[in-house]
Amino acid sequence: MSTRTVDTKERFAPGHRACIGCGEALAVRMVCKSLGDNVIIVNATGCMEIVSSQLPYTSWMVPWIHTLFENTAAVASGVEAGLEALTRKGLKNMSVTKVVAMAGDGGTADIGLQALSGALERGHNFIYVCFDNEAYMNTGIQRSSSTPYGATTTTSPAGKLGIGQITWKKNLPAIVAAHNIPYVATACPSYYQDLASKVKKAMLVRGPSYLHILSPCPTGWRCAPDNIIEISRLAVQTGIFPLYEVEGGKYKLNFNPAALKPVSDYIKIQGRFRHLSENAISLIQQKVNEDWARLKGLTKR
């Protein structure tokens, strides 16, 4: 499949103020290409919202609304219901317009989890995309429940007594899958065709769908900006961020190599892990091995 089959129209216009080499901006750009024009985007407060919407300008080429930090899924529910009611009453024709909620890991795993859970349970017809850069990056790299074990952040800093984040990353796709929604998937900008096809799949779902996209942040992860594609590739190849789908409750691995690369390949090129001992790294390796085995077990059901 040639990359020229990818839509060339930019719906997230250049001129936005994301950092040099921002993985999240890239992910948003990729997602928007596959979404097309017939969408309404509901965005949480966060990096992407700030870099794209300074009054009176906007980087967005599609209808877009930002209100607060933790209510993305709730606002999306309201937009979806509004379109549904207006279409049914014959006042508008928005039957094919898709509502797409976009939020970061903080706005999804922490402060936004309640609204997300509620919207999923109610079964609204929308896509929720979590752009996971693994911390509250916009406010200065503070930890979230999606920050990986051992990463240093400003509120879980590595120090004499601490190794950085002491908890393991919340498994958001699993939490979402537990709501029994039609479609859950993880994706990564380095595997762009996989990402594009998952967005298109989500567009066709009637009901809630969820995409969890790893979004490398060179500023917060302390890595070279030109290296973010390689890093996100390694995240998948080491099993740290597996690419999989849960379609109607059935698990399917999209990337299933014969052997995973060692996690140290991924960890050692990021400054946020620089302080980790060999012990900590082997602990991470152990956890990744366990999680990978469990995930593979789920795919066999």
Partner: protein, 109 residues
């Protein structure tokens, strides 16, 4: 050449925020010109820019795929080039190019 961003660059820009009066704000401060932020020259941020050895280019468009700015456009010959108005000089295109077509060099004036 993509037309929309060129138009945004050259079109009469909306007044900058520190000159707008309260009467000139739309209801609820809604921004009604899609892509209007494209007037912002993020190319000023960069300290380096991509240089192309097109003899090696196989026109795979991976540089366009991986650009976080979305500023890599196809040329008339079907090659690809970053729009320096927006290019922040991150170097992802140079790193990911499978044929090493692109080198990041010091920014030229």
């Amino acid at each position: 050449m993509a037309k929309s961003t060129n138009k945004a660059k050259t079109a009469k820009p909306p007044k900058p925020d520190d000159q707008l009066t309260w009467k000139e704000l739309e209801i609820g401060s809604i921004a009604t010109r899609p892509g209007s932020a494209s007037r912002y020259k993020t190319g000023d941020w960069s300290s380096r820019q991509p240089e192309y050895d097109l003899s090696k280019c196989i026109k795979c468009a991976l540089c366009q795929t991986f650009c976080p700015e979305g500023c890599v456009k196809s040329t008339d010959e079907g090659f690809y080039a970053a729009d320096l108005y927006y290019c922040k000089g991150c170097g992802i295109c140079a790193k990911e190019c499978p044929r090493k077509v692109i080198t990041m060099v010091e920014e030229k004036e």
